[in-house]
């Protein structure tokens, strides 16, 4: 920054709206980018495109004819691409020729269990992280909590799941070992998925609290006679949270990635299983559909996160003028 700060006011009025428009544009760009990269990457797979789109196994010549029509394979690549984009814009994710089912249906049926799992895992992760950050900052407990967080972040998700099953499922018998549909069956998978996330979130929160604790305003707050509890709850925790909330998109992503493993470990139905089956069976239309869906999911989450971050840290809203 060379010339000094822009004095606010005149430009400030329409900023929130144009920022929202900018972000929506960015969101469309991410989804479009993911869809495009996915499309061309799949077209790079050597071999007859029809065979590629079928995946493992064989289908009748009638279905092959159907595929050529669905994807406009007789047309040049550019036309195929535009055709594909046009379908996406209409919300049509295509058909799985292996499963003889529209991709949207395949995904839609399995969306609910995965979202339940991710949601509960998120709740557990936030609670665990907050507990670690607030109570793990004494002289005694810091090294211990730090080590705990390090192990939580480092241990492979699927191994955590296996250990939890061994101990709480087979050993103590507290929770059902196989998916039974009840809430009890959701607890172990959700904890499994939550532990690495809680480790990351806890570290970031703790670092945020430590970083905020040496900011100059802390002196001012203490000079007002504020207690330590007040200082943390009213002031520094908010700084730490504003810092951590930008991680939400990343966390949602890791939860979705992790659900592939957790659903396998616990033999649960869900999006992760759909994805894994599609990958092993090379069911390309489903793979493409999941890529697009994931892009939409992250974009929406990041949009929400951006808006929340603005409320938590008002400086963000004007930051663009200073960058």
């Amino acid at each position: 920054m060379t010339g000094g700060a822009v004095t606010g006011g005149a430009v400030g009025q329409n900023r929130p709206v144009s920022r929202l428009v900018g972000r929506l544009g960015g969101m469309v760009l991410v989804v479009w980018g993911a869809a495009t990269v996915g499309f061309f990457a799949l077209r790079l797979i050597p071999g007859d495109p029809v065979t590629v789109l079928v995946g493992l196994g064989s289908v009748s010549e009638q279905v092959r004819e159907q595929i050529r029509a669905d994807w406009g394979l007789a047309d040049p690549l550019a036309v195929q691409y535009l055709f594909y984009l046009g379908r996406l814009v209409r919300g049509d994710l295509g058909t799985s020729y292996r499963m003889q089912q529209p991709v949207a249906d395949l995904i839609g049926q399995q969306l609910a269990p995965t979202l339940q799992l991710m949601g509960l895992a998120m709740v557990f992760a936030v609670l665990l992280a907050l507990a670690a950050a607030l109570f793990g900052r004494g002289r005694r407990s810091t090294p211990f909590v730090g080590l705990l967080e390090l192990v939580a972040v480092s241990a492979p998700t699927f191994w955590i799941g296996l250990v939890l099953i061994t101990v709480f499922g087979f050993g103590l018998g507290w929770f059902p070992v196989v998916a039974s549909g009840g809430f009890g069956a959701l607890v172990l998978p959700a904890i499994t998925l939550a532990i690495p996330t809680a480790g990351i979130l806890g570290q970031v929160l703790r670092q945020g609290l430590d970083a905020a604790a040496i900011l100059p305003f802390v002196d001012t707050v203490r000079a007002r006679g504020a207690s330590h509890t007040r200082l943390v709850l009213r002031h520094t925790l908010r700084h730490a949270a504003a810092n951590s909330v930008t991680l939400t998109g990343y966390i949602a992503g890791s939860l979705l990635g992790g659900s592939v493993l957790v659903e396998t470990v616990f033999a649960r139905p869900g999006l992760g299983r759909v994805a894994l089956n599609a990958i092993t069976d090379r069911d390309i239309p489903v793979v493409l559909g999941i890529i697009v869906l994931a892009a939409v999911l992250f974009s929406v989450i990041n949009l929400i996160v951006d808006l929340v971050a603005d409320r938590l840290d008002p400086r963000m809203a004007t930051a663009e003028a200073y960058s």
């Binding site: 972040v153 492979p156 998700t157 296996l162 990635g257 992790g258 592939v260 990958i279």
Partner: protein, 296 residues
């Protein structure tokens, strides 16, 4: 400015790693060194064969003869974990090295090029980074098909954007530093300036990141082969061993628990070493953090 002196004195005392941290660092170094040795010469540590089946010795609990017990085919789990370290370390180090070099190049090019070039590259990085690493690796495998080499490539591609982003940001920061401007006013040529001032400052943080990244890459690779997307059984590979163990949790917990412990210890070690390097690097480069003068 006396207001700063007090806080500065405090800040100076805080990040010095304590005795515990130093012990942890050396423990991590020793563990990793032993693991590398085991990967190179597994015969030094065990006489057992990791692949030969012996049904008579199936599902034996840990004992002095079989420290980690035996699996459903009577193979020694300890031997399988030792031989498996070769695959995991190769993928971990290999993928990280590829990602580091590719990331540095992409990031530096983005950071040094003008608006349009940087805009396109950083947008592309941003789009790819919207996907978490594990999901990205899954997608790459979906495209190129499962297998050992696929595993390496998939993990490498999945982490490249993270390195590229750090390299780009670091390049941008250093590019604007006073000393780069100073070199320009002195009349030092741009090529010399990049080599002398920008690259050394970019490579440091990337190396630290890579140290920690080895652990991430190992976990990701183990996860993928746990899902059956990597090498085929009976290859002694960490993810595969765990996948075997999944079917015997009720009767033979050791098949799954011990290999997982080794993976965790490996990742904890690389993280510990990485953090230690970062702390040391932060201390050395203290001059690089821009402290404001009396007037902001």
């Amino acid at each position: 400015m006396s207001a700063l002196t007090a806080t500065k004195a405090l800040a100076k005392r805080m990040p010095t790693p304590g005795r515990g941290a130093t012990v942890g660092f050396w423990a991590a170094v020793v563990f990793l060194a032993a693991l590398v040795l085991a990967a190179l010469l597994p015969g030094l540590f065990t006489a057992a064969d990791p692949v030969r089946t012996d049904i008579g010795a199936a599902l034996l609990a840990p004992s002095p003869a079989h420290p980690f017990g035996t699996d459903q085919a009577g193979r020694d789990v300890f031997a399988r974990v030792l031989y498996g370290s070769r695959y995991s370390l190769m993928i971990g180090f290999g993928a990280t090295l590829i990602a580091l070099v590719a990331g540095l190049m992409i990031g530096a090019i983005a950071g040094l090029s003008r608006r349009v070039g940087d805009g396109v590259l950083s947008r592309a990085i941003e789009i790819i980074m919207a996907f978490p690493e594990f999901l990205l690796a899954l997608i790459v495998i979906a495209i190129i098909g499962p297998g050992e080499t696929s595993l390496l490539v998939a993990v490498a591609i999945a982490v490249v954007p993270a390195y590229a982003r750090v390299a780009r940001v670091q390049t941008l920061v250093v590019k604007r530093a006073g000393y780069v401007e100073a070199a320009r006013t002195l009349g030092v040529s741009p090529v010399l300036t990049v080599l002398r001032h920008i690259v050394p400052h970019t490579i440091g943080p990337l190396l630290v990141m890579a140290t920690m990244g080895v652990g991430t890459a190992i976990t990701a690779a183990a996860g993928l082969s746990f899902l059956g997307l990597g090498p085929k059984p009976p290859t002694p590979e960490w993810g595969l061993i765990l996948s075997d163990g999944r079917n015997f949790l009720a009767t033979a917990w050791w098949i799954a628990v011990f290999p997982g412990l080794v993976i965790t210890a490996t990742v904890v070690s690389t993280s510990t070493i990485g953090r230690h390097l970062r702390l040391r690097g932060a201390g050395r480069g203290a001059g690089a953090t821009h402290r404001a003068g009396r007037r902001p």
